[in-house]
Symmetry: C2
Subunit: 358 residues, 2 copies
């Protein structure tokens, strides 16, 4: 039985990448040493981390006035690192509350002593749409505006960005980086854990405008953007394997056609599922059409017990990890880059069969 993994992250990776890792695990490039054993100070690893950076720049068309940095600690680490490095003038940030992870970013900044103003929220409608920024942002109040481009739990995504009126725009892009096309120049900082679209958990990518990087005293070295920029992301030992595996996924992404091709594939995959859900009399996706995510699609029957029965039925057919997040309930299908169209087809077929036999 072919198994399709619809987990929200860590998530499915391309088979080719896993096969390549497997093939070269005992001896990287004929060195007699495993990627699990090589020094981060070796020329072999220098080549690897430099290629990852070059491929990221190439795929995302990152302008030269941006740094590309690699951290440990996940998105939650950056919820602390971003205000520590950027909120140095006003110690106050603005937030659009589009769901669980946007709110979490605000909570982390607040508990670290920064002022956080939520300029708009759609909590009242259970985050079934994106919050609209209707005010003109004052340009002397906030160090930046934080948004979450794709809301993994609630299934919404920004297809148009808010107008910040010169206030720097910071985006948590963890769940749709390279799954959907954005212009990096529209952001001042993008961060993303790799574990959804790009690799195994353990690396967080930060893409930040060089002009925003400054000397900041009194913050942990492992979160210091200036230090990481100076030391090619290696002031201390980086997660060597995880960076290497991310690099292989980027090579795969380039080979299959880059972000344009990925977005086209993801639109096709998502449409297949949304079209089914919209005509279904059993299942429903609660998200406003214009704000729907390409990568994370929650749906439910309205009957929690029945939802669980569907999850079990799907698992019995090799369609795994479709249980929704506890805060939303129901089911959730994550259709990241490495999920093939056939996986979504198998999912829709089985949902259709289930509904018909009810």
């Amino acid at each position: 039985m072919t198994v399709y993994n619809f987990a929200a992250g860590p998530a499915t990776l391309p088979n080719e990448v896993i096969t390549q890792i497997q093939d070269e695990l005992p001896s990287l490039q004929g060195s007699g040493m495993s990627i699990l054993e090589i020094s981060h100070r070796s020329s072999m690893f220098d080549d690897i981390i430099n290629a990852v950076q070059a491929d990221l720049r190439d795929l995302m068309k990152i302008p030269d006035d941006y740094e590309v940095l690699f951290f440990q600690g996940g998105g939650t680490g950056q919820f602390a690192a971003v205000p520590m490095n950027l909120a140095t003038d006003h110690h106050r940030i603005a937030l659009l509350d589009s769901g669980h992870w946007a709110a979490k970013a605000g909570e982390e900044a607040k508990q670290l002593g920064y002022k956080v103003d939520t300029l708009a929220t759609t909590k009242a409608t259970h985050y079934d749409r994106l919050p609209a920024l209707t005010m003109t942002m004052p340009d002397d109040t906030y160090d930046y505006l934080h948004i979450c481009t794709n809301n993994t739990i609630e299934g919404t995504a920004y297809h148009e960005l808010p107008k910040t009126n010169h206030v720097p725009l910071v985006a948590d892009m963890s769940s749709n980086i390279m799954a959907q096309k954005y212009d990096v120049a529209d952001f001042d900082l993008i961060f993303a854990g790799v574990q959804k679209n790009l690799g195994p958990a353990g690396v967080t990518i930060v893409i930040v405008k060089k002009s925003l990087i400054k000397e900041v005293d009194g913050i942990p070295s492992v979160f210091n953007y200036q230090l990481f920029a100076k030391k090619n992301s290696m002031p201390n030992t980086p997660p060597v394997f995880n960076i290497y595996a991310t690099g292989l996924t980027l090579k795969w992404l380039k080979k299959v056609g880059g972000i344009d091709e990925m977005q086209a594939r993801n639109q096709k995959k998502a449409s297949l599922l949304y079209d089914f859900l919209d005509q279904s009399t059993l299942f429903n996706n609660p998200v406003k059409h214009q704000d729907r995510s390409l990568t994370n699609i929650p749906f439910m029957t309205g009957d929690a017990k029945l939802d669980l029965a569907v999850v079990d039925d799907l698992a019995a057919h090799g369609l795994m990890n479709l249980k929704g997040h506890r805060s939303v309930g129901g089911l959730r299908a994550s259709l990241y880059n490495a999920m093939p169209f056939e996986g979504v087809q198998a999912l829709v077929n089985e949902l259709y069969r289930f509904e018909k036999e009810m």
Copy 2:
């Protein structure tokens, strides 16, 4: 040609571990999913992380009143996290300056705003021995005393611990954890990156007395001991693969006989090299005998050009990564748990041949 990797870390891993990772990479436990893809919220991963913790407790005989936690960010991350969590009464810590990494821990605490008193240092003699704590420590001045049990760069190790007079003892054990036997009850906190003796870079183990864990406001969540203790080290996505690989190394360690056996093997390996160096008229290890490390052995000819020629000669014979750290120069052999006796024998044979043919 058999390749032996003497790197200081990331470092050599047991062949059995690499083979097992390779074998089960495409499908973990018949799930059809790779360890690189499974969710940290899955019962499969729960079993993995719980087993890693249980094996750590078993191997190190960790008493029940200690927590075992897993972080990202390496030793440098803990240089920040330890004072943030522990230096809450006096905001002042004490330090024994035994070398590069002990000094670094002090610098990080200082730049974060903590007072740091270096109670003893052997910097004047180029860290060729451990600093002796001759004073009786006052019990109302310091939140803890920081030591580095094994100095990776300088090649010294604590075989007897300093008497702290009730002041909590914090140890950076990154380069000799489970390579040498210590009684966990002699410490209040131990931390160690896994990338020398236990696994691929990307996980840091913290073993901390439960009574020292308290609610601390205003510190990053990813460094919050209380939060990690409450959430089984998973308030956010952990480095799933790295924890899994560490777990396999622990199973290997148990199979071959645990820490007692490792220490015996490491003593035998280190003695072979030290005995050679001590009778050599070409090579010299500068460290005082009673403070010598089992895992990291620097040595040199006194002629920097000749040292480099030796490094090249060894590499040509499959004996890799023997260049010393730039701050010490010469050569350095790291003989961690996974380095077989045959590797050290091959190294000594080649050094002997080199010296004879001079």
